[in-house]
Symmetry: C2
Subunit: 216 residues, 2 copies
DNA sequence: GCCTGTGAAGCTATTCACAGCT
DNA sequence: AGCTGTGAATAGCTTCACAGGC
């Protein structure tokens, strides 16, 4: 079992497959075929097989994939049996929604600290999660062994927060702010640009609507 | 000016460039070079030039791109001078955050209706936006000429809502629910899987942290 | 027959590198 | 000198198509 190239896209889809497989497993299903995973995940069967290749696990032509083994293989590839602590920065509308959304979603990916610049929001608990002022970042992040952060602050503060997080030792960030961020090469950054996504959808929606009208 | 192939990715980046250019323009800047756009958007200068090719607008080697013209060219490519109405489905935590987030963000992309299955949430106004029961979907969507919808409902209801939206005439959807949706080919669907994104970030964060530790 | 695993082909996206302009 | 526009090269991703197994 040697290191195959595992791209970002493959990682993303494998986490998806795993999430879709868990309920199937709980319902007592033992095995599954690539085309069935494909239909759950809305991708092609060939893609599913390719992706699974990256885990090193092999299915069997007559039964397909043993769900238990497949899930474990994905776990192993991502070595995330180890619970992993996450911080949230920004407790505005979006931050609160994000905190609530992720609350209890994935037990091994817990938000364990929230930071906000506003003193009124940087104390006490939110959803049971302790809140801190941004000045406490270094200490809290080191103390709680946090590697990942979610940025949900206004655009103007985003780069500053990102720098502080990197400084404090965070090595991966999910950015909701409407500013592309710059981070050092050894920090992973994922942009969640809801505004660009909505504009893209709107563009294609218009296009589809036009095509539809033309057909009539 | 003939139809070049304009991919989804290019559309996404062009909307981003446009968003980044608007403040520059407001500050009175006249022109900009590809490497400057690149640094704002955190992409390569070559990519910026390629993307701009798709709009049909050409810059000039000595002054770069006229911001005014470039913004207009992007507007034109996306023909979104026409304001465009959007519906939001689901007024839970996430739905409320989404509604607040987009409120006033882009004046030509307004959320003008909210739907929720809960009778307590499907009346009155939220942020000034009228709320309706899901049963009213057909009528409201046709009446307000809505083409785009944002789905922020629990996974279990997502496919049902999507079907209803398509039925009602929506041709583009942004899906926050943790279920890959199936839509007809003439409807554009963009998945916003925050959970998969966070897992991806966590994976690379772990990897980076390990690499860092090894270096020490 | 219907499945998996996978080399090979086909596509798409990005970057290189340079002619041409100012 | 430093920029744009762009053909050509490269890299990356997805699908095809089929050998091999049950």
């Amino acid at each position: 079992m040697q290191e195959v190239q595992v791209s970002e896209k493959i990682i993303g889809r494998l986490t998806l497959y795993r999430r879709l497989l868990l309920p199937e497993q709980e319902q007592g299903r033992q095995s599954i075929f690539s085309h069935q995973i494909a239909s759950l995940a809305k991708v092609s069967p060939a893609q599913v097989r390719r992706d699974i290749m990256a885990t090193g696990y092999s299915g069997n032509p007559s039964r397909g994939y043993e769900i238990r083994h497949l899930v474990e293989a994905i776990h192993h590839l991502m070595d995330d049996q180890i619970a992993h602590n996450v911080a949230l920065v920004g407790l505005g509308h979006l931050g609160r929604a994000v905190a609530t959304f992720f609350h209890g979603l994935n037990p091994s990916l817990d938000i364990v600290a929230i930071f906000d610049a506003d003193p009124a929001k940087s104390r006490g608990l939110f959803n049971g999660i302790p809140c801190f002022p941004v000045e406490a970042m270094d200490e809290v992040i080191a103390g709680k062994d946090i590697l990942t952060a979610i940025l949900a602050v206004p655009a103007a503060q985003a780069q500053g927060c990102a720098d502080a997080l990197v400084q404090a030792g965070v090595t991966g960030m999910l950015n909701f702010a409407l500013t592309p961020l710059h981070v050092p090469r050894n920090v992973f950054l994922e942009e969640m640009d809801m505004s660009a996504s909505l504009e893209k959808v709107a563009f294609y929606a218009r296009k589809n609507a036009q095509a539809k009208r033309k057909r009539t």
